[in-house]
Symmetry: C2
Subunit: 180 residues, 2 copies
DNA sequence: ATCCACATGTAAATGGTTACATGATTGC
DNA sequence: GCAATCATGTAACCATTTACATGTGGAT
């Protein structure tokens, strides 16, 4: 009964069309995982709970001998999804080891801090490349343009920020070298 | 022995000077919590583990009759912190309910999607205000300028992005109204 | 034959928060 | 006298991941 995180991942995924648990997991891994992940250990039990609550309904749609249960939203489920979408409360949780390192970077020499910034930028650039690949493949992945643009813009901003910080640190390092 | 997330929060906090568990928690709540939180339930057990491993050492420094244990980094602890800082691997985990909502916003009417964007922007603006407050208080909180600037710049970028997306949606909504 | 993808599911382990217990000190 | 803060700590709870179990189907 109590709605957890995975609840709305499932309701949202089913709002895009009927799907099996396996297909929901695939959708999540290709898209929402960037800002909201979900594992089989959450998805399958939650599907049964949501069906018991009448928010989704499942139907057996085997492929050959391979069993398969396809779920779709009920009117109640669509209503619950809308209610959540319009609720102004939105949890944000971030665990960013890179920022934590930056926070304590004072124990490093400037050249070492530079190496740290460089590795942080490399990670953002890798993330950016993955998102650009999603963009290149177009609508095929069902990634809404709005969210994709947000992600790309955000990564670009962070790459730029790292570059600027690196340049500042280089100047500082050079100034100290001259001074010594 | 195995290093978890809270390990480096503690080592990092102690790199800024000797501190008690209570003071570490205060530091975290005022600063790193934006990108890495920690609770007493993690901090106190970890302090004992780190002391057993020889990375920190604690000394009883009561204030009056109030018992108090102040820890400081050992050379091994400082070394472990440096090794972690220079390790290019950095975990990033994000759970952003706002982006998840945006991802499934297609089930909403344009005017409703606008309300959603508005609430998302409001949250970022609130976060921005908190960071500006930290900035106004200056170095007192021990927030490194680099990380603070990153946070402020990032929030500003996100607020701007929301504003731009809102303007686009308004145009779309108006266009649909004219068409109908 | 073997491997990978499809498909559903669960048990154990992990990681973390919350709530509580205890007691001293400070300010109103 | 009371509430808030200082200070340490633990147990219960919660969410989530990981690893496994089971079986089908298609490709090499």
């Amino acid at each position: 009964m109590p709605a957890s995180g995975v609840t709305y991942v499932i309701l949202g995924a089913l709002s895009l069309g009927p799907r099996s648990g396996y297909e929901i997991k695939q959708l999540v891994d290709r898209s929402t995982r960037f800002f909201w992940a979900a594992s089989y250990g959450q998805i399958y039990p939650e599907l049964r709970r949501l069906e018991a609550d009448g928010l989704i309904s499942g139907a057996s749609e085997p492929r050959g001998e391979r069993r398969r249960i396809v779920y779709q939203l009920t009117p109640d489920g669509r209503e619950a999804l809308r209610d959540w979408l319009l609720d102004p409360e939105s949890l944000i949780e971030i665990r960013d080891e890179g920022l934590l390192k930056l926070f304590f970077a004072d124990v490093l020499e400037p050249s070492e801090a530079l190496a740290l910034l460089h590795s942080l930028r490399a990670r953002r650039e890798a993330a950016l490349a993955r998102l650009r690949e999603v963009e290149r493949q177009g609508k095929a992945l069902g990634f809404p343009a709005l969210v994709l643009e947000f992600g790309i813009g955000l990564q670009e901003w962070m790459v730029e920020w790292c570059s600027a910080a690196e340049r500042r640190l280089e100047q500082k390092r050079d100034a100290e070298e001259v001074a010594s």
